[in-house]
């Protein structure tokens, strides 16, 4: 189970941006096999300034800028990892992941299976998703479902600063290939981050809030929306339990099933369109393994089945929020 913050842990308030920068810094320092590269990650410090200062500190063999070629980012990372390095590459927007899709789906995911020895692919692809900034169709998509039906990949979507840091360090130390998704609209969120060195292991779901009346399984940026919805629902006497899987695939379903066995109500929340998304898998797992505990239809909160629109009001209509989660919980409870 996950390493919870206990009361005695000394913490400092940090933004997600800072916590990620620190994670990269610590891992580059700790392990000489770690290297970081991508478009504008070195001299410029990353388009969103996540890697600021690292090039100056670790030099151009450890941290460097690359040509504009995402297949080279995906492809060389696989090779570097197979050779024994621990590459961390930034593919600027997660919308670009399909450009490296072949190297992720057919190469990275399958090499541990394909090798005759214990060689694996310890690479991390950092990439950004998240809507709300008017960047339009191609700079904000949530890609997790595109990679869920791919055995061999790990897909991570942290929520809080503490998790961004711990999970990025965990991902870098993990021996399997990881797609690490960062919500670009949340880089400024701040929260307590332990002062002591720590990592968070992959594939462990975390209970973000305890409750007895309904279970909300929320991922990435939607965890904040779920927390807000839960506060509002609490005022109406409905206590929600929030499970944050943190790793999307392979999914730690244990805490989800346990929670539903207690609350008997399930709502899922994601930024991606509902159809064919993460929430559907959660619903399916629950209906297989906890069917007799369910009191009501499972409601899935997500975006409509459209591209991300550009216009301000359309983007607002598109984006799932705390409101939608709140209604979904009420809907489920009232059925």
């Amino acid at each position: 189970m996950s390493q919870q913050l206990d009361a005695e842990t000394e913490t400092t308030t940090q933004t997600i941006r800072e916590s990620l920068n620190q994670a990269l810094h610590e891992e580059l320092e700790r392990d000489e096999r770690v290297l970081l590269y991508g478009e504008d990650v070195a001299e410029y410090g990353g388009l969103y300034k996540i890697s600021e200062g690292l090039y100056e500190e670790f030099g151009e063999e450890r941290v460097f800028d690359t040509p504009l070629a995402e297949t080279s980012l995906g492809g060389t990372a696989v090779g570097a990892a197979l050779a024994g390095a621990r590459p961390v590459v930034e593919i600027m927007y997660a919308d670009f992941l399909p450009i490296a899709g072949d190297h992720l789906i057919n190469y990275a995911a399958k090499m541990y299976f394909n090798y005759g020895d214990e060689t694996s692919v310890p690479m991390v692809v950092r990439s950004m998703y998240g809507t709300g900034d008017g960047h339009g169709l191609h700079h904000g998509q949530s890609p997790e479902a595109w990679f869920m039906n791919v055995p061999g990949l790990k897909v991570v979507m942290p929520s809080t600063p503490r998790e961004y840091k711990g999970l990025l360090k965990g991902a870098i130390r993990d021996d399997d290939p990881v797609i690490f998704l960062e919500n670009k609209m949340r880089y400024g969120e701040s929260g307590p981050v332990p002062d002591e060195e720590y990592t968070i292991s992959l594939c462990e779901s975390d209970v973000k809030r305890e409750g007895t009346d309904a279970t909300i399984v929320a991922i990435g940026g939607m965890v904040y929306e779920a927390l807000e919805a839960a506060e509002r629902l609490s005022e109406q006497g409905i206590e929600c339990e929030i499970v944050d899987p943190r790793t999307i695939s392979p999914l730690d379903t244990g805490p989800i099933l346990e929670s539903v066995e207690k609350t008997n109500i399930l709502v899922t929340a994601q930024e991606a369109p509902t159809f064919g998304g993460f929430g559907s898998e959660v619903a399916a797992q629950v209906i297989d393994d906890a069917f007799f505990y369910l009191d009501a239809p499972v409601k899935r909160v997500g975006a409509p089945f459209t591209p991300i629109p550009f216009a301000e009001n359309l983007e607002e209509a598109y984006q799932p929020t705390a409101d939608d989660i709140e209604s979904a919980v009420i809907d489920a409870i009232e059925t």
Partner: protein, 327 residues
């Protein structure tokens, strides 16, 4: 000499329209913001303007994010501005950004936010036009950054072996976001990357007449069935990659490029050749400014689109967009 057959007033008008439009974008953005983050083409105007000039009206343009000229020379200005504001009167009523909008009516190939991903589609459009047995030429614009992608190679090769009517125009402004191409390629001329057997030419991208001439030739070649051409236009941008990013480039280099400003160079030349007067220029300029200002005024008071606009995803199937299933 190509400059003898050019309608200089028109060409200058195109150039000034692009320049004044980009200046206005910058001013408004700095003053009160614009929903679409500007990626200014200031300094590069002659590339798009010159390349579009010799084309037929129904030739197809596949602009890059930064080829503002291509958009402006095909689309009513007020639609473009509304497109940048994401309001009702924009070309897709706010569904998409102006940067990537497509229109069969205006002969603009829709593109995506993926730099260089339009290269093969542009080649495909040329293929489609061959199938439809018309003589439209496709002109695709892209940067030095896009030239680093594998798409550059596969698109050039496909177009070459199929002898398709395409003109490839690299707008080599020597920067890929905040990265200098010096560290991204190991050649002086990007044209050297293209050993595919198609003709390549390096063009002075600051010289609008040189662009007209090179593109006219390439388009002729394409139209007569002799296949694609690659033009590498050397140019420079005056602004940072996007308006949210700081300037970090060498000032002296920037100033050197400004000394060869494409608009001023062309005006000087026309005045020298007595092909236009200061007064004529002033009058063109004033008229353009009015058109542009009006377009911004209109966009600023335009309505946001109706939510229904969003549900425009499948042409042939009605779906319940919230469930993602067919009705």
């Amino acid at each position: 000499m190509v400059h003898e057959t050019i309608n200089h007033t028109e060409l200058l008008e195109d150039l000034l329209l692009t320049r004044r439009f980009e200046e206005k974008v910058l001013e408004v953005y700095q003053d009160r913001g614009i929903r679409e983050l500007p990626h200014s083409s200031l300094g590069q105007e002659a590339v798009g303007v010159g390349a579009c000039y010799p084309l037929e009206d129904d030739d197809l343009l596949a602009p890059s994010l930064r080829t503002r000229a291509a958009m402006l020379l095909r689309t009513p200005v007020e639609e473009i501005v509304a497109g940048m504001y994401g309001t009702e009167s924009g070309p897709s009523s706010g569904r998409t950004t102006e940067h990537h909008m497509g229109s069969s009516e205006y002969g603009i190939l829709g593109t995506t936010g993926m730099i260089g991903s339009h290269l093969n589609p542009a080649v495909g459009a040329a293929l489609g036009n061959r199938t439809l047995d018309n003589d439209r030429v496709t002109v695709v614009f892209f940067g030095d950054g896009a030239s680093q992608r594998g798409e550059f190679h596969s698109a050039l090769n496909f177009a070459t072996v199929q002898e398709l009517p395409v003109v490839f125009v690299i707008e080599n402004n020597q920067w890929t976001e905040a990265m200098s191409i010096d560290k991204l390629v190991d050649v002086d001329d990007l044209a050297d990357l293209a050993g595919h057997g198609l003709p390549t030419e390096i063009v002075d991208g600051q010289d609008v007449e040189a662009m007209v001439e090179a593109t006219a030739e390439a388009a002729d070649r394409a139209r007569s069935g002799d296949g694609p051409t690659l033009l590498e236009a050397k140019t420079y941008r005056y602004r940072p990659h996007a308006e949210t990013m700081p300037e970090h480039r060498d000032e002296a280099t920037l100033e050197a490029w400004k000394d060869r400003d494409p608009v001023e160079m062309y005006i000087d030349r026309l005045l020298e050749r007595d092909q236009i007067t200061e007064a004529e220029i002033e009058s063109i300029d004033e008229q353009l400014q009015t058109t542009i200002d009006d377009a911004f005024d209109m966009a600023e008071s335009d309505e946001l689109p109706d939510e229904e606009t969003l549900y425009h995803v499948y042409k042939d199937t009605e779906i319940d967009h919230w469930k993602g299933v067919a009705k």
